[in-house]
Amino acid sequence: MRELRKGKLGYALLIPAFFLVLLAVFYPMVYSFVLSFCEFDLGTDSTRFVGLSNYVEIISADYFLPAIQRTIQFAVMSLAGTIAISLGMALVLNENIRGRFLARVLLLVPWAIPGTVNGLMWKWIFNANFGGLNGILTQLHVIPSYVNWLSLPATAMLAVVFANVWKEVPFSTLILLAGIQSIPLELYDAAHIDGANTWNRFVKITLPLLKNSILIVLILNTMINLLAFDIIYVLTGGGPADYTAVLNWWTYTISFRMFNFGLGSALAYTLGAINLVVAIAYFKSLYRRIEF
C-alpha cells in the first residue's frame, strides 16, 4: 500500500520542477535544434527545411577555425587562472587567521556584481586613456606609458580573461572551501605526527580528497567558459580585429545582427556538441578515479 502511494506521490512531487524545466529549458532547446536545420527568412517570416546545409556552412566558414582557436585560448587561460587562484584562496581562507572574515565577505563582491556591470567596470579600468590600471602602473613605474589593453592583440585576450576570472573566482573558491572543510582534521593530525611537512600534507591528503570538488569546478568552469559571451560583448565586442571573437560571439552576431537564426542555431549546437564532448571527456577520465 505504502509502496503504491509512495510511487504516485513521488512522481507528483516531481511535476512542478519537471514542468518548469521542460517548458523553459528543454522545449526551447528542441525548438532551436529543429531551427538549426532550417533557413529562417526575416522579411517573409518563413522557415524552410534545408537539412545539414547550415552546419556545412558553419564548418566551412572562414571565421570558424580562428573562432575555435580563440575559444580554446580563452577557456584554457580562464580555467588555469580560476583553478590556481581559487585553490590558493580556499587554502588561505581555511586557515585560522585574523581578517579571514573580511576576506570571506569581500569574496561575495565579485559574485554579487551583475555580469554586465562587471564588464563595464573592467572596461573603465582598462580604458586606454583614463583607466585606473594604466594610472597605477604608470605611477608605480611598471610601465613607461599608457597601454591600450583592449586594442592590442597581445593584451586584449589577457584583459578579457583577467576580468572573467575575477568574477568567477568566488564561486569556485566556495566550492573548494567546502571541499577542504569536509576533510577530517584527524587525517592532518595523524600526518603531522608521522612527520609530514606542509607540502606533503597538501599533496598527499588535501589534493586527493579534494578531487571531487576540483572536478566539479573544472567541469562547470570549462563549460561556462566555452560558452562565454557577456564579458566579451561588453569589453571588446570581439575585437580588436576579431582577436577575441570566440564561437559564442559569432552565435550572437549571426543570430541578432544578421538575423540568420537558422545558421545561429546551427553554430550554437555545434558549440554545444564540443561542450558535451569535453564534459564527457572529463567524466570519463576523472570520475572513475574518485573514491566515494
Partner: protein, 445 residues
C-alpha cells in the same frame, strides 16, 4: 502527532483559499469600473531613449494641438539596442505607428516594415521634399521614394584647439591632406601634444566606417557606386583615405593607436582635456567644449573646413510610419509634427532641435531664424557652419549599400579589415580587397 499535521495543512489551505477569494474580488471590482468613452486614437511612437524630457514636452504640445490624438511614447535605448529591440517587435508583428530610423532605413523598407510616403496617401509630402537639403532627402529615400521626415541632420566637422595651433604656429587652413599631416607633425614637434588627433575608430558601424567615409568624402570620392561596385583603385579617394589613416598611425604617429577602441565619448574627453589638438566631431559639441564648467579648453574650441574638397560626412535621423500602423492618417499628422510643420505651420521640432543640439539643420530656411542664430552664435561661427552644410555628402551616396539588410554586417567587416590594416597585419590593398570581396559575397545572395 498525525492529527496535528493534518490540521495544520487544512488551516493553510483555508488561508490560501481566503486570500484567493479576496484577491479575485478585488480584481473583479477594479475591472467593473465603468470605462471612459474612448474616442481618441492612440498612436504608438517608438524612439531612442535620448532627449526624452524634451520629447515628452513636445508630445504634450502635440496632444494640445490635436485633442483627439494621444501618443503612447516608448523608448528603447539608442543605436544597437533600439535596432535589435524594434526589429524583434516587427518580427513579432506588433502594432506600431511611428518609428525612429537611422542607418537601417533600407533594410526596414525592403522588409516592408516602414512605408513610402506618397502624395496621394500623405498629402503635402512633395512640398517637404522641396524644402529640405537634397542630401537629407537622399538619405531618407529608398529606391527613389521618400520614407520619412527628419528629426535632425548630423555632419562631422574638423574641430581644433586654437591655443595649441597658435602655440605650434599652425594656420587652421588645410588645402591638402599633406598640409594637414604636416600641421600635425609640427604640433607634435612644437608642443607637448603626443597625438594631435584621436579617432572614434571603434568596431561599431558608427565608429571606424563613418570616419573612413568622412575622409573619403573630403578627398572627393565615394566608397562604391550605385551598383555597389567598389572604388578601390590605388589613386582613388577610398584607397587614399584608408592609406592616410594607416600612415597616420604607423608612419607619422600623429594618431593614437588606441583609436581603434576609441568611442565618441573618448574623443570628446581627450579634446576637452587638452590631450589632442583635433577632433572630427559634430559641431554641436563645441557648446560643451566651450563650457568652462566641464571643459579645460573653453574659448579655444573652433572648427574649420576639411582639406581638399571640404567634403563632410552627413546623415539624417528620421521618423517613419510603420506598416503595422492601423491609423496611418493620424500617424501622418504626428509625423508632420515631429519632422515638419505643426498645426500652425511652424517647423516646431526642427527649430527646437537646431537650438538644443546646436546645429543639425536640415531645413535651410532655419538659418534665417533669429532664435537659431542667437543660440548658435554663443559657441561657434554661424556663417562658417552654414557654409560647411553645402559640403555635406550623404552617407547613402558614399555607401549606397546602406539600404541593404546586410549593411551592418558589412560595416563590421569594414572595421575588422580597417583595424587589421592599422595593426599592420594586412596591407591597405589586402584590406580593401577583403572588403570588396565581402560585399560581392553579400550582393550575390
Amino acid at each position: 502527532m498525525g492529527k496535528q499535521a493534518i490540521t495544520k495543512i487544512q488551516v493553510a489551505l483555508v488561508v490560501v483559499l481566503m486570500v484567493a477569494v479576496i484577491a479575485a474580488s478585488g480584481y473583479w471590482l477594479l475591472m467593473m469600473q465603468p470605462k471612459p468613452l474612448e474616442e481618441k486614437v492612440t498612436l504608438r511612437f517608438v524612439e531612442f531613449a535620448a532627449g526624452v524630457t524634451e520629447m515628452k514636452a513636445a508630445l504634450a504640445e502635440f496632444e494640445r494641438q490635436y485633442p483627439n490624438l494621444k501618443v503612447n511614447f516608448e523608448t528603447y535605448g539608442a543605436g544597437d539596442p533600439y535596432y535589435s529591440a524594434v526589429s524583434t517587435m516587427f518580427v513579432a508583428k506588433e502594432e506600431i505607428d511611428i518609428v525612429r530610423v537611422e542607418t537601417w532605413l533600407g533594410e526596414w523598407a525592403k522588409n516592408g516594415w516602414v512605408i513610402p510616403l506618397t502624395e496621394d496617401k500623405f498629402p503635402g509630402v512633395e512640398k517637404y521634399r522641396q524644402r529640405l537639403y537634397p542630401g537629407a532627402v537622399d538619405y531618407m529615400s529608398y529606391k527613389g521614394q521618400l520614407y520619412g521626415l527628419p528629426s535632425f541632420g548630423g555632419t562631422l566637422v574638423l574641430c581644433y584647439n586654437e591655443e595649441i595651433l597658435q602655440k605650434a604656429g599652425v594656420d587652421p587652413v588645410f588645402k591638402t591632406w599633406d598640409d594637414f599631416t604636416a600641421a600635425c607633425l609640427k604640433i607634435k614637434e612644437k608642443t607637448d601634444i603626443k597625438y594631435p588627433l584621436f579617432g572614434n575608430w571603434e568596431k561599431a558601424y558608427y565608429g571606424f566606417p563613418w570616419n573612413w567615409y568622412h575622409i573619403t568624402a573630403s578627398m572627393g570620392g565615394r566608397i562604391m557606386d550605385e551598383n555597389y561596385k567598389c572604388q578601390f583603385a590605388e589613386g582613388q579617394p577610398a584607397y587614399r583615405a584608408l592609406q592616410w589613416m594607416v600612415d597616420a598611425v604607423r608612419k607619422h604617429r600623429i594618431v593614437d593607436p588606441a583609436s581603434i577602441e576609441g568611442t565618441w565619448t573618448d574623443v570628446r574627453d581627450l579634446f576637452h582635456t587638452r590631450k589632442i589638438a583635433f577632433e572630427m566631431m559634430r559641431a554641436a559639441y563645441l557648446s560643451v567644449a566651450n563650457n568652462a564648467s566641464v571643459s579645460r579648453i573653453a574659448g579655444n574650441a573652433k572648427f574649420t573646413l576639411m582639406p581638399e574638397t571640404h567634403g563632410q560626412l552627413a546623415w539624417t535621423t528620421l521618423y517613419c510610419i510603420s506598416s503595422t500602423s492601423k491609423h496611418k492618417d493620424q500617424a501622418w499628422t504626428l509625423l508632420k509634427f515631429l519632422g515638419g510643420e505643426d498645426k500652425y505651420g511652424k517647423l516646431f521640432r526642427a527649430k527646437a532641435n537646431a537650438i538644443s543640439t546646436g546645429g543639425g539643420i536640415v531645413y535651410p530656411e532655419l538659418y534665417d531664424d533669429p532664435d537659431v542664430i542667437a543660440k548658435l552664435k554663443t559657441f561657434l561661427d554661424v556663417k562658417l557652419l552654414r557654409e560647411t552644410e553645402k559640403y555635406g555628402v550623404s552617407m547613402s551616396y558614399l555607401t549606397p549599400c546602406i539600404s541593404e539588410a546586410w549593411y551592418i554586417a558589412w560595416a563590421t567587416e569594414v572595421s575588422t579589415q580597417g583595424h587589421k590594416a592599422i595593426l599592420g597585419e594586412v596591407t591597405v590593398r589586402q584590406a580593401l580587397d577583403a572588403i570588396e570581396s565581402k560585399i560581392n559575397q553579400l550582393k550575390a545572395k
